[in-house]
Structure formats: structure tokens, C-alpha cells
């Protein structure tokens, strides 16, 4: 489980590559190829060979450093390590782009549409509840208007009865 970081793996691979390359290009092989020069100048051959190996290794390591810096590769690889670590419990193959952008975009937009739908649902329910309260208030108000109208009707009828009595009374009172 203790996975090696990708950066370390990369360095190890490059080291191994260089070791094997140097092992392949051994001094023996080098001196065999440059046999006559080697016979003439063995010490010089050794020094040139050593310089050759040192320079080759230095150049290759320098190149790797450059590539790491250029693409910020270390940070990118470390972040990939982290992503892989987070997903280590998964076994089944993960989603991959389908190649149809419209299709892949649906899932990306879904959370926002779902949120919009829930917000709208909430607003509609809230407004419906408020409107129910308003409707109840209106029904109560209508009832009250009705009662007031009945009260006024009663008062009006009483008043009219009175008026009728007044006229009768007057008629009686006015009799000579």
C-alpha cells in the first residue's frame, strides 16, 4: 500500500536507465571501439571515457530537471498521486468522456439545475402557503363584510319600522 510517489518513480527510472546505458557502454567496449587510440594513449582514453560518461549523465539529468520545471511536472505528478490515493478504494472502471460533449455536459449541469429546481419548488411552496393565508384572510373578510351587511340590514329594517311607526304615531297624534 505504501505506493512510491510518481516523482520518485520517475527519478528511479531515469537513474536505472542511465545505469544500464552506462553499463552497456562500458569502458571495455569503448576501448575496443577506439582500440588503436587506446593502445596509443590508454590513460587519455580512460579520461575521455570518464568525461564522456559524466557528461552524458549530467546532460540527461539536466534535461529531466528542465522538463520537470517546464511543465511543473513535480507538482502535477504529486497532485495525481493525491487523486489516485483518494480513489484507491474504488475497483470498478471510472467514467470516461463519451466523446459526445452534449451528453457529458448533462451531468455537469445537473447539480445546478437540480438546485434551481429545488429553489423554485421552495419558492412556489412558500408562495402557495402565503396565498393560502391570504385566501383565508379574504374568506374571513368576506364573512365580516357579510356580517356587517346583515347588521346594517337589520338596523335599516329597524329604522324603517320605526319610520313607519313614526308616521302612524304622527297620524294618531295629529287627529283633532
Amino acid at each position: 500500500s505504501s505506493t512510491i510517489s510518481r516523482v520518485k518513480l520517475l527519478d528511479t527510472m531515469v537513474d536505472t536507465f542511465l545505469q544500464k546505458l552506462v553499463a552497456a557502454g562500458s569502458y571495455k567496449r569503448f576501448s575496443d571501439c577506439y582500440k588503436r587510440f587506446y593502445q596509443l594513449q590508454p590513460d587519455m582514453t580512460q579520461r575521455i571515457y570518464d568525461k564522456f560518461i559524466t557528461q552524458l549523465q549530467a546532460s540527461i539529468r539536466e534535461e529531466i530537471c528542465e522538463i520537470k520545471e517546464e511543465g511543473n511536472l513535480e507538482a502535477v505528478l504529486n497532485s495525481l498521486d493525491k487523486i489516485v490515493e483518494e480513489g484507491r478504494d474504488r475497483k470498478e472502471p471510472a467514467w470516461r468522456p463519451s466523446g459526445i460533449p452534449e451528453k457529458d455536459l448533462c451531468s455537469i449541469m445537473a447539480p445546478y439545475f437540480l438546485q434551481q429546481r429545488d429553489t423554485l419548488r421552495h419558492h412556489v411552496q412558500k408562495q402557495e402557503a402565503k396565498n393560502r393565508q391570504l385566501a383565508d384572510a379574504i374568506l374571513a373578510g368576506r364573512k365580516q363584510v357579510e356580517e356587517l351587511q346583515l347588521q346594517i340590514q337589520a338596523r335599516q329594517q329597524a329604522f324603517q319600522a320605526l319610520h313607519r311607526e313614526q308616521r302612524e304615531l304622527l297620524a294618531v297624534l295629529r287627529e283633532p
Binding site: 546505458l21 472502471p93 451528453k103 455537469i108 373578510g141 313614526q166
Partner: protein, 206 residues
């Protein structure tokens, strides 16, 4: 053999792993050639310094080619192995791994049909919300009307109360009595007036 374009890796790295390896290969190979060239230059320079040397530059070139050919072969072989490992272990997104920007593909998997249904539902909800808002306007308007009507009706009732109060101010406790009281008073006034008229006639006669 179908080439794996490693598009998911390219999405993450911003370059294709194969290109990255090609870049490294070319750089390494250039160094190998450069260093070999430097080796040859140094040897030729050394030979120049040796008087009566029989080794010709052509011979040295042949030696260089021989050594380089061998090195290049080993280099390609080793690099091929390293590339394979790079593409397998370093520059690869394991199949079970999902990149962060694609998280919602698995947390909210949604087909085109589902998203259309969702958008339809949103439109319906928007219409419903607008309807509710219009309903609210109408209800509020009626509430305002009711207030005005109720105020008018209460005004009318107050009028009746005031009428009654008028009677009460005159010591009668309800309107009917008030009215009788009024009529009796007016009757008394009539009598008083008749009396006054009679008296004034008598005075005129005398």
C-alpha cells in the same frame, strides 16, 4: 495495433504522454550524439598533438560510428522499456480513477433525457411561481377592497349609532322613545302655539 491516444491523461497533464516521451527521447538522443561528437573532437585533437601518428580521422570516425551504433541500439532498447514503464506507472490515469473536474459525472450521472425533463420541470415551476405571484396580487387587491368596503359599512353602522346617541343625549335610552318624546314635545309646542294665538286674538278684540 490501435494507438491509445491517452486523451484522459492529456486532459489532466495538458500534453499527451507519448509526446512527452518523444520529447525526452529526442533530447536524450541529441545528448548522446553531442557527447559522442565531443569525444571524437577531443580524440582528434589529441592525435593532432602526437607527431607521426598513423591513425587518420576517418579511422577515428569509423570507431565513433561503431561505438555509437552499439550505444544507440542499447539506448533505444533501454528507452523503450523506460517509456513503457513511464506510460504505465507515471503518466497514466488508472482506469478506476476519475479526475476532480469530472466528479459530477458519477455523483450526478444524468442523461440528456433526464436533463430535458429537469428543464421542463423548471419551466413548469417557473410558470407555477408566476401564477402564484399573480394570485397573490389578486388576493392582495381584494384584501384592499375589503378594507375599504368594511370601512364604509362601519361608517354606516356608526351613523346609526350616532342617531341613537342623539336620542340618548336627550335622556331617552333608545331611539323609539326619543321619537315619541320628540313627537310629544312637538305636540306641546303646537298647544302652546294655539294658546298664544287665542290670547293674541282676545287682546286684539278688547
Amino acid at each position: 495495433m490501435s494507438v491509445d491516444p491517452m486523451t484522459y491523461e492529456a486532459q489532466f497533464f495538458g500534453f499527451t504522454p507519448q509526446t512527452c516521451m518523444l520529447r525526452i527521447y529526442i533530447a536524450f538522443q541529441d545528448y548522446l550524439f553531442e557527447v559522442m561528437q565531443a569525444v571524437e573532437q577531443v580524440i582528434l585533437k589529441k592525435l593532432d598533438g602526437i607527431p607521426g601518428c598513423e591513425i587518420s580521422p576517418v579511422q577515428i570516425r569509423k570507431c565513433t560510428e561503431k561505438f555509437l551504433c552499439f550505444m544507440k541500439g542499447r539506448f533505444d532498447n533501454l528507452f523503450g522499456k523506460m517509456e513503457e514503464l513511464f506510460l504505465q506507472l507515471i503518466l497514466r490515469i488508472p482506469p478506476h480513477i476519475l479526475l476532480p473536474e469530472d466528479k459530477c459525472q458519477e455523483s450526478h450521472p444524468c442523461s440528456e433525457e433526464e436533463i430535458q425533463l429537469l428543464q421542463q420541470e423548471i419551466e413548469q415551476l417557473q410558470e407555477k411561481y408566476k401564477t402564484e405571484l399573480r394570485t397573490r396580487e389578486a388576493l392582495l387587491a381584494e384584501l384592499e377592497e375589503q378594507k375599504i368596503v368594511q370601512a364604509k359599512l362601519r361608517q354606516t353602522l356608526t351613523l346609526f349609532d350616532e342617531l341613537e346617541n342623539v336620542g340618548r343625549d336627550r335622556g331617552t335610552n333608545d331611539f323609539r322613545e326619543g321619537l315619541v318624546f320628540l313627537v310629544q314635545n312637538s305636540r306641546k309646542l303646537q298647544n302652546i302655539r294655539d294658546n298664544v294665538e287665542r290670547e293674541s286674538k282676545k287682546l286684539k278684540i278688547s
